[in-house]
């Protein structure tokens, strides 16, 4: 199913669309205020972009350095080529500890690898501890946003979900009471878990440590209570030195939510006595993207979600319309790398307005990459046949001044003479569903000019 069909379903609920759009625009405005308050913000973006560029250019060296340092710290380092390997490695670690109850803090990589269904299928209870993530887990939905996974839901939806699963009072959708219910529910899970899984925001090659940023502190609670911590990271999460980190932490929260910094920025470098720290380093298509010169810059992404909040299409179509772990503009340039056919409509789910590129804290040229994916998709025959042939016809037509002049005249005359019902038939003309066509003038500019010059 294409993005446009799923988007049309979302936007059909006009009130929910308004709410979704305004909520995310509010976040974008918070981001603006935070950004305007830092005079050197644009230099920070440039610096971050250069650090990432440098790191991607010698990723092999930095990965080896990270692995060596981490091992020196007593960390178990695992390498996973793809999602299946990632899931097997994690299942294996859990089994070795005879654990069946696992807590997990939000990690888009484990979402990408579909870790939860894999663990559940092997009899392991895995509980997402980020509030938004827990809500959608109860509803058996996917996150619809990188930072705000349940942003597609209203508090009434959450109230109904909690009533069904956590036994809260029917019709109660007071955010404070719902949060308290979630807290009580999660507390028991935190206390019972032997293994905690987390994502990684940044991995520092120099120290072999990983850094996790959250606002709820749930990752820290899980990790510090459990005996085993498994951190799951994509190969692109590396930064060279600890001193580079400040550049990114200053950009991440401001871009994501307009906060100066996340509430918790936790460093995990070595396991405590009697405990284990595992880091699973995952490729899953990333080296393939690294090998595509036009798209490798997409690997700079630090998953702040700013491009989603600003994207006028995302705000009105909702994250699920992208049907990919990472939705929005950045997802639309990451997804074709994974499955060109399945995600062929995503690079077209944009007006190429460029706002995503302007907010990106690491200066990824997102809208340029969307344009470039469109060329790849058309060349690979992944655009609708009718569109391809009509465009090819249009190409011939527009390269010939005579055909253009005559064709334009015919179209204008037709539009003027044919009944409105026919020219605006919604089944034939998508433009006319919500818009009037322009009123055709009697003469084109070129016809006017030819006469004006003669006189």
């Amino acid at each position: 199913m294409s993005h446009s069909l799923r988007a049309a379903t979302f936007v059909a609920d006009a009130d929910r669309t308004t709410w979704h759009d305004e909520t995310l625009w509010f976040v974008r405005q918070k981001r603006d205020k935070a950004v305007y308050a830092v005079p050197e913000f644009q230099e920070l973006r440039e610096l971050a972009s250069q650090i990432k560029e440098h790191t991607l250019g010698r990723l092999d060296e930095y990965l080896k350095q990270f692995e060596a340092e981490a091992r020196r710290n007593g960390v178990h380092v695992h390498w996973a080529a793809d999602a299946a390997e990632h899931n097997d490695i994690i299942l294996d670690i859990i089994r070795r500890h005879n654990d069946t109850r696992v807590v997990k803090s939000k990690s888009m990589l484990t979402e990408e690898c579909h870790l939860n269904p894999h663990l559940l299928g092997h009899g392991i209870e895995v509980i997402d501890t980020d509030l938004g993530e827990r809500i959608i887990q109860l509803r058996e939905e996917a996150p619809s946003h990188l930072v705000l996974p349940a942003i597609h839901l209203k508090k009434e939806d959450v109230g109904a979900t909690f009533h069904q699963h956590l036994g809260t009072e029917k019709g109660n959708h007071d955010p404070q009471q719902l949060t308290e219910a979630a807290r009580q529910h999660l507390r028991a899970k935190f206390l019972a878990a032997e293994v905690a899984i987390s994502g990684v925001n940044f991995a520092v090659a120099e120290t072999g440590g990983v850094v996790i940023c959250t606002n709820e502190g749930n990752a820290d609670l899980g990790v510090n209570l459990a005996r085993v911590h498994i951190a799951s990271m994509g190969i692109e999460k590396l930064i060279p030195r600890l001193s580079d980190l400040g550049v990114f932490t200053r950009l991440l929260a401001r871009s994501a939510t307009g906060q100066p910094v996340t509430t918790y920025t936790s460093h995990y470098t070595k396991p405590a006595d009697g405990r284990e720290l595992h880091v699973v380093i995952v490729d899953n298509g990333r080296t393939q993207q690294l090998g595509r010169p036009d798209f490798r810059a997409s690997l700079k992404c630090i998953r702040c979600g700013a491009c989603m909040n600003t994207c006028p299409v995302y705000r009105r179509s909702g994250g699920h319309s992208y049907d990919f772990t990472v939705p929005g503009p950045i997802g639309a340039i990451l997804s074709p790398n994974i499955d060109l056919k399945k995600h062929s409509s995503l690079p077209f789910a944009s007006t190429l307005c460029g706002s995503c590129t302007d907010v990106c804290p690491v200066k990824i040229d997102i809208h340029t990459q969307l344009y470039k994916w469109r060329q790849v998709l058309a060349e690979a025959g992944e655009i609708p046949i009718a569109k391809k042939w009509s465009l090819r016809f249009m190409g011939r037509f527009l390269a010939s001044p005579k055909a253009f002049g005559l064709g334009g005249k015919l179209a204008r005359t037709g539009l003027r003479l044919l009944p409105h019902q026919l020219t605006h038939a919604q089944a034939l003309n998508p433009w006319a569903v919500a818009r009037e066509l322009p009123e055709p003038p009697k003469q084109s500019f070129r016809e006017w000019y030819a006469r004006a010059v003669k006189q």
Binding site: H3, S4, A8, V11, A14, D21, W25, D32, V35, Y36, Q42, T310, P312, V313, S317, F348, A349, S350, T351, L352, C353, G354, S355, T357, D358, Y371, R374, Q375, A378, E379, K387, K388, L391, R392, M394, G395, R396, L398, A399, P401, F404, G408, A411, R412, P430, W431, V433, A434, R435, E436, L437, P438, E439, P440, P441, S444, F445, R446, W448, Y449
Partner: protein, 247 residues
């Protein structure tokens, strides 16, 4: 100074008055622009849809048509941006490089090349300026809200110089209108919703004349205004700057 007027394909066919106003305004500013009759289109509709290769003959035709001029001026930032940015797919001969560099949006040409930043005239209306993305973020014609809270730009200044004009302060200064070329058809539902929201922002803040530098966005917004029969008139900025009478 040999100046050619490039009138985008849909403006030629549907909005001849925009082409006429462009020609007349340039004339008032002392520039006699010539309209080469063999011109057609910049090829953007195809390229943005992924068919860049099918657009190459159109690119070549564009270069052939305009290579003999010092400047190519068009009342459309979007087409100009396309020529500047995406004609990199042609072999970069001297002619191609010249045409890419010489192609200007009308407003940029007036302000940057002619050095005109104020225009005489009176326009006592509440005017809402729609900033088109390709002009704004592509050609840097106006400040981006992503970077600064300061609302400024050449077109805003030119309009503000007219006597009696009042410019609308929008809730969302520079959000995309949702036209997006073939996007307006392939993603009809989202495109329409974006356009409706854009028009609503103007309506809420008192715009009676909706204007901008790019007729494609305005064609889409006008389609919504007319469908909903809203009390708003849509004009290309050059029609206002040229002193068009509004009824």
């Amino acid at each position: 100074m040999r100046v050619a007027l490039f009138i985008p394909c849909y403006v030629d066919q549907f909005y001849p008055q925009v082409g006429i106003a462009s020609l007349q305004l340039l004339q008032k500013l002392g520039v006699r622009a010539h309209f080469p009759a063999q011109q057609t289109c910049c090829g953007q509709p195809l390229a943005n849809s992924g068919c860049e290769r099918d657009a190459l003959p159109i690119y070549r035709h564009f270069v052939d048509t305009f290579q003999g001029y010092d400047y190519v001026v068009a009342p459309s930032g979007s087409c100009v941006y396309h020529v500047r940015k995406h004609f990199d797919k042609l072999e970069q001969t001297a002619e191609v490089q010249h045409v890419r560099a010489a192609t200007y949006d009308l407003i940029d040409f007036i302000t940057q090349i002619l050095g005109v930043t104020e225009l005489p005239g009176r326009f006592p209306h509440k005017v809402g300026l729609h900033l088109s993305c390709h002009g704004q973020r592509g050609l840097h014609q106006a400040n981006e809200s992503e970077l600064t809270p300061v609302r400024d730009g050449q077109l805003r200044r030119l309009l503000a110089s007219l006597e009696g004009i009042e410019l609308t302060e929008l809730d969302r200064n520079d959000e995309c209108c949702g036209f997006g070329g073939t996007f307006c058809v392939s993603e009809e539902a989202i495109s329409a919703r974006m356009g409706q929201d854009r028009v609503q922002d103007h309506l809420r803040n008192g715009t009676t004349i909706l204007t901008g530098g790019d007729m494609s966005c305005l064609m889409h917004l006008q389609g919504i205004v007319r469908r909903r029969q809203l009390p708003m008139q849509v004009l290309h900025a050059v029609e206002i700057l040229n002193g068009e009478v509004v009824t």
